[in-house]
């Protein structure tokens, strides 16, 4: 069974029956729901304003954490991941069918494909069942073998009833149902058979006739024939003759699968039925006094068996009940003997009557689901399946919608179709384990726009784990790679998941996280991979803003982060789409290099940077004034002459442009950044600073004249 829920938290807050005292103490409970996995924090809190609280409640204040589901354990996770692969294939199948405007269940190819996938689900459940049974020791598994057995029986019944082999949708269903019953609910037991086989006179054993009757009901003609053979030694000559006649009848019971057409099957069934009638006539001829053998009334048993073969409804029902069979046994026997041509679609009419007499066991979830499936009530089956396991209801609902067994559009005012309701419920379960977020998102993204939005809520909360943990070196290597601009680890997966499902907004959200943490390099490569060029521009602006707010050295450090991505971006930029933003990035890198060189006292190179930035118009106009001001210390360095005359002239030209344009009212365009760097942030101060540039330039010219006499 699924893990049992508990009814109380530990340690308890108050003794049993003390609810009133708890209330009287002025306390109540409050909750907080975790965005991480849907778990809930529960804590006692005050029900009144504190000044009205009486003292006297315990001082120890616990916070309990509870969850609706336990996060899946390793085995369960394997099951969930493996079946999610099948689920994805089903989605593709349905999508393709819809794109080709094919009604899935009307098309042999698609129906066949779905049947195969349904059987894949069945097989996975079976494997899990076997695995869980083999590893039963202790209570180590979250879900027992019996749980998977139940999933197995429900899914395989669904397949038998609703996903038939293409072409056989309208064919008699009896044989398939008998197979299902014999596979999952083995009767009569093998042990009984073995026991009877060891006996010389098995008919003297009390289980003999019931075994024979059950084997007949289950169509086990070989077993029946084997034990009927033993009756050749029975003292009653009547019985000897009758059993000899019965053996070929049982062995030749026509099965639909043996015939190429339903017509042949019908003709053969009729002929076979006539033989049974002949046997009945002979049976009735046995004198009353020869019908017992001292152990049992063999005649009555024999008559019941013949009654079943004759397809007498009341006999079938009675024999099944007497043998301890339930409604399933009766339904299947019905389709084999009473109405062997019964089709799937006519089954519910019969089942309703049978269930009236033999209702399903309401405490047995599995039995209840089976009955709803037999009754052709998919909606009911789903709600019951959800009680057993949300995995089952989700995957059943998915196939049911594909087969048009349930409405694909919302039937109520929730905006959510039935299938999506169950898929979302399952996704909630998956969300209880953060490590399954990729599956959570995959499932949600099959649920239309609403599901996608829900997936976004999950996606944006996947922790990217950028601050690498202390423990493992592998993790820190990964984070180092991420920082180097590689998309790796969780980040890569989030990125891929966003990409698969077209969740661009979410990708950008993730990007913002990097910007916030001043992981500019990371943000850049992320933006580039998301082809978010305006976003890239914003990051460069943020980086440049570092200069304004934090000063040159912090700025240079930040840019060191993004420099490596520049090269890659330049290669990409050939498309031309992102040109504008790339230029801004080039400037940021160059500007940082310039400051770095000044720090390293590489003045000549630094001067080269200044010239390059201004000459090649790499620097945006708003930054010219800043570049010029930052070049002042180069101009004032008395040991070197880093600028040639023509370069100094270039600086002067730029300075003139800034000053004159500003005086004509374009100050915002030319002075904004410099103004921000000054204390008061106004243009007047900026202009004053530029005056010092002019002075420095003038002095530089003077020195140039000194050094190089004209």
């Amino acid at each position: 069974m699924a893990p049992k829920a508990s009814s109380s938290l530990l340690p308890p807050l108050f003794e049993q029956g003390s609810t009133e005292e708890f209330k009287a103490s002025g306390r109540t409970l409050a909750v907080a729901a975790s965005p991480r996995d849907g778990s809930i924090a529960v804590y006692p809190t005050n029900n009144k304003a504190p000044q009205f609280m009486k003292a006297g409640y315990p001082k120890k204040q616990p916070i309990y954490f509870v969850a609706e589901h336990l996060a899946p354990d390793a085995e369960r996770r394997t099951f969930l991941s493996d079946t999610s692969v099948i689920f994805n294939v089903v989605q593709n199948l349905v999508k393709t069918a819809r794109a080709r405007k094919i009604t899935l269940f009307d098309n042999g190819e698609t129906l066949g494909a779905l049947r195969k996938l349904a059987q894949d689900y069945v097989n996975f459940c079976k494997e899990c069942w076997i695995y869980a049974a083999e590893n039963k020791t202790a209570d180590t598994l979250q879900f027992s073998d019996d749980h998977y057995r139940q999933l197995h029986t429900c899914l395989s019944l669904f397949t038998v009833l609703y996903v038939p082999e293409p072409g056989l949708e309208g064919a008699p269903a009896g044989e398939d149902l008998l197979d299902w019953l014999n596979t999952h609910f083995v009767e009569p037991s093998t042990d009984e058979g073995k026991h009877l086989a060891t006996l010389d006179k098995p008919w003297e054993d009390e289980s003999y006739w019931s075994y024979l009757a059950r084997a007949t009901l289950r169509g086990l003609s070989k077993a029946s024939a084997f034990f009927l053979e033993t009756l050749s030694k029975h003292p009653s000559p009547y019985l000897q003759d009758l059993s000899r006649a019965l053996i070929p009848i049982l062995s030749n019971h026509p099965r639909f699968s043996q015939f190429s057409s339903e017509r042949d099957f019908a003709i053969n069934s009729r002929r076979w039925r006539d033989k049974v009638k002949t046997l009945r006539v002979e049976l009735d001829r046995v004198p009353e006094d020869s019908r017992e053998d001292g152990f049992d009334n063999w005649w009555a048993w024999f008559s019941d068996i013949v009654g079943v073969l004759e397809g007498r409804a009341e006999v079938v029902k009675r024999v099944c009940t007497d043998l301890g069979g339930d409604w399933k046994e009766v339904c299947v026997a019905w389709t084999m003997f009473v109405d062997p041509r019964l089709r799937r679609q006519d089954l519910p009419d019969i089942v309703v009557d049978i269930l009236d007499d033999l209702p399903p066991d309401p405490t047995n979830q599995e039995d209840v689901i089976h009955s709803s499936l037999f009754l052709g009530k998919p909606v009911q089956a789903l709600s019951q399946a959800a009680q057993l396991d949300v995995w089952l209801s989700a995957h059943l609902a998915d196939m049911m919608e594909a087969l048009e067994l349930i409405e694909a559009t919302p039937t109520d005012d929730s905006d959510i179709s039935l299938r999506n309701l169950y898929i979302i419920q399952f996704a909630e379960y998956l969300h209880s384990d953060l490590n399954l977020w990729r599956h959570t998102v995959d499932y949600l993204c099959t649920c239309g726009d609403i599901g996608m939005k829900m997936a976004d809520e999950v996606l944006v909360r996947v922790p990217l784990r950028l601050q690498s943990p202390k423990d493992s070196t592998a993790a820190s290597e990964e984070s180092a790679r991420i920082r180097a601009g590689d998309l790796a680890g969780v980040l890569k997966e989030v990125n891929a998941s966003c990409f698969d499902h077209g969740r661009e907004e979410v990708r950008r959200m993730v990007c913002k996280a990097f910007t916030r943490e001043k992981e500019y390099g990371l943000a850049l490569s992320y933006c580039a991979s998301a082809e978010d060029w305006p976003g890239l521009g914003r990051i460069v602006d943020r980086v440049l803003n570092e200069y304004v707010s934090q000063g040159p050295s912090n700025f240079a450090r930040s840019v060191a982060n993004i420099a490596p991505s520049l090269h890659a971006l330049r290669a990409q930029s050939k498309s031309g789409l992102n040109g504008v933003f790339i230029y801004r990035l080039i400037f940021a890198v160059r500007f940082a290099e310039f400051h770095q060189r000044k720090v390293n006292q590489e003045y000549m190179d630094a001067a080269g940077d200044v010239v390059a930035m201004l000459k090649e118009e790499v620097a945006p106009r708003a930054w010219w004034a800043v570049v010029l001001c930052d070049a002042v210390d180069l101009l004032q360095n008395h040991e070197i002459m880093p600028f040639t005359t023509s370069e100094a002239t270039l600086l002067l030209h730029k300075l003139e442009e800034v000053v004159s344009r500003s005086s004509y009212g374009a100050g915002k365009d030319y002075l904004a950044v410099l103004a921000q760097c000054t204390k008061n942030g106004d243009e007047k101060f900026a202009l004053q600073q530029l005056q010092s540039v002019r002075l420095a330039l003038a002095k530089y010219y003077a020195r140039a004249l000194d050094v190089v006499p004209v």
Binding site: S6, F14, Q16, N47, M53, K60, L418
Partner: protein, 433 residues
């Protein structure tokens, strides 16, 4: 439901609020002991460890709220000391910086810095909540004089300046238009001069107080057992998470048993879009009442709504708002925005009663399982699971099932269990009502 963890002793007095951060990796708690604690989840062990702990206010802290991480690591706390405080987790390098509140217990561990103190409230501040991040760094706070205040941070890096963008007396807030679909008792009590404006705050709030006192007196006989309004009232807020409709907040005050859905916009004064009130409503009715209905048979006895929670709409055409109240009920309201003008055109005239352009609301679930006062309601991140907790010492989950019927989906309690708990208590099956 299953217990997955425990903090043995979170605070030295009752915990007043607990709030998860955006990722659910941290939990902020506050308490009657005037302190805030930040807990960090150890993902390997599932344990919660204290990361920080400081005395935050000079009286009991009432609520704590995390800002969206886009803005940094920021929480806001509200308190009986009539303030709202903004706290930011600062980098290690900044630890040396002297703290404005000077309240850090040990300078080495405290990395949270007080960034701002909002002192506009004249009464205890009962709730605080940051607005959804797409509206910028904003927060709403409600105090026990029924004033809802909206603050906006003007200087984001420093978090020092917060502008009081709106201040409104929720009880006195008039409805949008004369044809509004909500008529509440309080609106009929309020005269036009009693609407609040930020310019004239003091006198207006005095007027409002007088109004409440008058109201209290008039209501006092009809609610035996309910004592002081300050003691038993409920003040709660919850933002609409959607961007589309602009800034909307649901607020409940005092003991009037109503939630007002309030639209905030920069150009207009705050306006009530809809009032959620049980008195004239029946679960089956599609719209709110169109006429004032006199309280019938004591049914409309006032009660406090202790908690309101606006579910993320995730693209649905409607919103869900849950309330928990002292009448012992958990209610789920479904509210529907007006049809868009162009859609209405396509759909023809509709029912022709001029209902387009209006928000409508109805109850889609009402549960009295807690029997006595409900302490808190809260939605999960997708708005599909509602959790509630109450005076019966139990936590309950609620989910929509097929047919959009809300049903119980499990519960767990803090009461000591039997030696062998009866199966009946353990069933998680929804019970049809």
């Amino acid at each position: 439901m299953i217990q997955t963890g425990l903090i043995q002793n979170a605070h030295n007095d009752l915990v007043t609020d607990a709030s998860y951060d955006f990722y659910g990796l941290r939990l902020a708690t506050c308490s009657l002991d005037q302190r805030i604690k930040i807990w960090q989840l150890d993902e390997d062990t599932g344990n919660w460890d204290v990361e920080d702990d400081w005395k935050a206010h000079d009286a009991a802290v009432t609520k704590i709220s995390w800002a969206h991480p886009e803005f940094g690591t920021i929480v806001a706390s509200s308190s009986f000391d009539r303030t709202v405080k903004i706290w930011e987790q600062t980098a290690y390098a900044e630890i040396e910086r002297p703290q404005a509140n000077g309240a850090s217990s040990s300078s080495s561990s405290s990395r949270w810095t007080e960034r701002a103190v909002l002192v506009d409230a004249k009464f205890s501040v009962r709730a605080v909540e940051f607005a959804p991040q797409h509206f910028g760094l904003k927060l709403a706070a409600i105090s026990s004089d029924n004033h809802l205040r909206i603050y906006e941070c003007l200087e984001q890096p420093s978090l020092a300046t917060w502008q009081l963008a709106e201040e409104v007396d929720v009880l006195a807030l008039p409805s949008t238009s004369p044809t509004s679909n909500s008529i509440s008792q309080t609106v009929t009590l309020a005269t036009p001069t009693q609407t609040t404006s930020t310019l004239d705050g003091a006198s207006v709030s005095l007027a409002a107080q007088a109004l409440q006192q008058q109201q209290q007196q008039s209501q006092a006989p009809s609610r035996p057992g309910l004592g002081n309004r300050e003691a038993d009232g409920g003040w709660c807020i919850s933002w609409c998470k959607d961007k589309y409709w602009g800034e909307i907040i649901a607020a409940g005050c005092g003991i009037d048993g109503k939630i007002k859905v309030i639209q905030l916009s920069p150009s207009k004064r705050p306006a009530t879009l809809l009032t959620l009130s049980t008195a004239p409503l029946r679960p089956s009715s599609e719209t709110t009442s169109k006429a004032p209905v006199p309280p019938a048979d004591g049914e409309a006895a006032p009660y406090a709504i202790t908690s309101v929670s606006w579910a993320p709409s995730c693209g649905r055409s409607y919103h869900l708002i849950a309330t928990g109240s002292r009448d012992g009920k958990v209610r789920i309201w479904r509210i529907k925005p007006p049809a868009l003008a162009d859609e209405a055109d396509y759909e023809g005239d509709g029912d022709g009663d001029g209902s387009e352009g209006k928000w409508t609301g109805s109850i889609v679930g009402e549960f009295d399982d807690h029997k006595s006062s409900v302490g808190r309601v809260e939605w999960n991140i997708t708005g599909t699971v509602l959790s509630s907790a109450g005076n019966d010492g139990r936590v309950r989950l609620w989910k929509a099932t097929a047919g959009n019927v809300w049903r119980p989906a499990g519960h767990i309690g803090v009461e000591q269990a039997d030696e062998q708990p009866p199966d009946i208590d353990m069933d998680e099956n929804p019970v049809a009502d």
